[in-house]
Symmetry: C2
Subunit: 353 residues, 2 copies
C-alpha cells in the first residue's frame, strides 16, 4: 500500500524525516507492507504539488498561494487517497507558543478532509488538544504527535498503549535541553550570557532565546503533557512559569556547594479543582533521578495509582530523534490501516474514573 | 462482553490479580466494555470449575485430577468462549528456571484450545519464547507476559507498541530486587548473611535464595528480554552468570570508598554471531543511571539505532504491580477482541533487517 504524504513545513525536521523515510524504505516495506510518496510540500518560500509524487531533490517551489489555500487544494486533489485512509499530512511548521497557530488551522483542514495528521510541533497539542482530538474522532482519522516532548522517546505512546489500566496522577520532569545545558555550565562557573551564547552557537537554543530561558518551551511541553496525560485543558500561558536568568547562576553554584543540583523542573498534578502545572528552577537532592541529567538528557517521572512512579529517560536527543518520532507515528497509522482496526476513541476523562 | 478466565496457579499474585479485577470492575466495564468471570482455578492443592463462574471467596477445591488434565477438561468445557475469542488462561505457577515446565505445557495446551494466555511466570518466556510465540500465531490468539520483568512497568509493550521503527541493539539493567537491596546493605557494612536474612524476613527474597543470589532470576529475565527484544534463542543456563556471595561485601565497600557502586548488572547485545548475554556484579561510576538505583528500584537501558539510549526506571515494585501487569495484558486482549484487529504477526527477525 502506498501512503501519500503532504508536508506542511520543510525545515530541518521535515528534511531529516524525508531522509529517514528513504533510509528505512526496505524496513517499511518488509515489516509493515507500505511505501510512501510525497505528493505535496509547503514551505514559507513556496509550494509544490504532484499527485504522482514530488522528487524532493529536484523540487521547484511555486509561490502563488498562501499555505492554507495550497493545503486545501492539495487535500482536494488527494480525495481518493483520503477516502482510502492512506493520506497523511505531516505538520512541522514553527512553534507559536501562545495560540498554536497557524498549525491548528492546518490540522483542522487536514482532518476535515479525512487525512491523518502527524506533527512534531508542540503548539497544537499545548493550545488546542481537546478540540483537535474531537476533530480527529469526528473524522475517524488519527492525529499523532509523539515528537512533541522528548523527541522520539515514546512518552505519549507509553501512556496510551502500555498503561491501559493505570491512572496517571501527575508528573515531573526536565524537558528543555537548552536550560539544562546552561544550568550545568553555570554550576561550573560559566556566566548566563556565555552559556547561552554557546548554546546558540552549537544550534541547540531556539533562535528566540526567551522561548528557552523564560520557560516558554517547557511550559508548552508541560501543557501538552497535562492535556494528554491528565485530561487538563491548559494553555501554555496558564502554566505557572519561572525561567532562568543571570541571577540563577549564583543559585546554581550555591546549590552545588551543598551537593544539590538546580534544575528547571516541569510538573503537573491532578488536584481537587483540576490540574495545576508549573515550570520553575527547583533545587534537587543529588539522588533525585532528575538531578543526574546532564546536557541534552531529558526525563519524565510519571506518578501512577497502581504502578507507583515510572521514569523514562532520554539519554540522547537531536534532529534524527525528532524525525524518528514522525516515522513512528506514520508506522502507527500504517498498522491501523492494514489491521483494519477502528480508531481508538478518547478515554472517558480519567478524572471521572 | 464477558471474558472467561481459567486461573492456573493461585498464589499471592493470582489472588492479588483477582482482587484487582474486582477493584477495577467499573473501569473495565466503562472504558473497555468488558466484564470478567472466573470459570476455573487450579492450584497445587486442588481444582474447581464452573461454566457459570466460580465464587472465589467460597471456592472448594477438588483434588481428583492433575493440573494438566484439569486444564484440558476446563478448556474443552469452555469451547464456546474460546471460539468467540473471549477465553483467557492466566498462568501464575512457580518458576522453573531450567526448563520453564510445567508452565510451557499448560500454555501450549491453552493455545491449542484457542484460549489467549497471560502469564506472570518468567520461565516460559526465558525457556520457550520462540516456540510459544509460533504456537500463539498458529492459534491466532495472544500470549502476553508483561509482568515477567520489572513487574508492571511496560518494557515489552514499550518495545512492541511504541518503538515500531527502531532496532534495539542491546540492553543493560538491574532487574533483581533482592541482590540490589543486599548490595546496598553490604556497602553500608552489613554482612552477606545478615542482608540475605533480612530480605527473606520481609518476604522479598525467593524462598530458594540461590535463585536470587546466584543470579538465576536475573539470568531468566535476561534470557526473556534477549529472546523478545533481540530475537535471541537463549535459555537461562546459556546466560553467562556470576551472582553475589560473601566475598562480594568487601568488594562493594571498597568500590563505595572510591565513589563507585557495585551492582548486579544484566546485559545482552547483538553481535556478529548472534546475541551474547551476561549477568555479573559490575562496578559503575556514580553518575551511571544504574548506579543510583536503591532497594527495590529496577531499570533497563535500551540501546537503539535511531533513538540512542532510552532508560525506563521502576521506582516502586511489589505484588500489586505484578498483578497489574496481568490486568494490563487482559486489557490488551480485550481491546483486540473489541476492535476486531488481527493478531500481530512476529516481526521478521530484526537481525536480518
Amino acid at each position: 500500500m502506498t501512503v501519500d504524504l503532504i508536508l506542511i513545513g520543510f525545515g530541518n525536521v521535515g528534511r531529516r524525516f524525508v531522509g529517514l523515510l528513504d533510509e528505512q524504505r526496505t524496513m517499511l516495506a518488509r515489516r509493515y507492507g507500505i511505501s510512501t510518496r510525497i505528493v505535496g510540500i509547503a514551505t514559507r518560500h513556496g509550494q509544490v504539488f504532484s499527485a504522482r509524487g514530488v522528487d524532493v531533490a529536484k523540487v521547484r517551489l511555486d509561490t502563488s498561494a498562501d499555505t492554507l489555500t495550497f493545503l486545501q487544494d492539495a487535500l482536494s486533489k488527494s480525495r481518493v487517497a483520503a477516502r482510502e485512509r492512506r493520506l497523511v499530512v505531516v505538520e512541522t511548521t514553527t512553534l507559536d507558543v501562545k495560540r498554536g497557530e497557524p498549525a491548528v488551522r492546518y490540522i483542522r483542514a487536514a482532518l476535515s478532509a479525512k487525512a491523518h495528521v502527524i506533527t512534531a510541533n508542540k503548539g497544537p497539542v499545548a493550545c488546542a488538544y481537546a478540540a483537535l482530538r474531537r476533530a480527529a474522532e469526528r473524522a475517524d482519522r488519527r492525529w499523532l504527535f509523539e515528537g512533541v516532548v522528548m523527541d522520539g522517546v515514546p512518552i505519549f505512546n507509553l501512556a496510551r498503549e502500555t498503561l491501559p489500566a493505570v491512572k496517571i496522577l501527575g508528573f515531573r520532569g526536565v524537558v528543555n535541553s537548552t536550560t539544562n545545558f546552561m544550568l550545568t555550565a553555570m554550576e561550573r562557573g560559566r556566566s548566563f550570557d556565555d552559556a547561552l551564547a554557546e548554546m546558540q552557537a552549537i544550534g541547540i537554543a531556539e533562535a528566540d532565546a526567551s522561548l528557552d530561558v523564560d520557560g516558554w518551551d517547557a511550559a508548552a511541553k508541560t501543557a501538552a503533557l497535562a492535556n494528554v496525560l491528565l485530561g487538563a485543558q491548559l494553555m501554555p500561558a496558564q502554566v505557572e512559569r519561572q525561567g532562568i536568568a543571570r541571577e540563577t547562576a549564583a543559585r546554581a553554584v550555591e546549590a552545588m556547594s551543598r551537593g544539590r543540583r538546580l534544575k528547571l523542573v516541569a510538573r503537573a498534578s491532578r488536584q481537587e479543582r483540576g490540574v495545576t502545572a508549573r515550570v520553575s528552577p527547583e533545587e534537587l537532592a543529588s539522588d533525585d533521578p532528575l538531578a543526574q541529567l546532564e546536557g541534552q538528557q531529558n526525563a519524565i517521572i510519571l506518578s501512577t495509582d497502581l504502578l507507583g512512579e515510572i521514569a523514562i529517560v532520554q539519554r540522547g536527543g537531536g534532529l534524527t530523534q525528532t524525525a524518528y518520532a514522525l516515522l513512528a507515528d506514520l508506522v502507527t497509522i500504517a498498522r491501523s490501516i492494514t489491521s483494519g482496526a477502528a480508531i481508538p476513541r478518547s478515554r472517558p476523562r480519567a478524572r471521572r474514573g
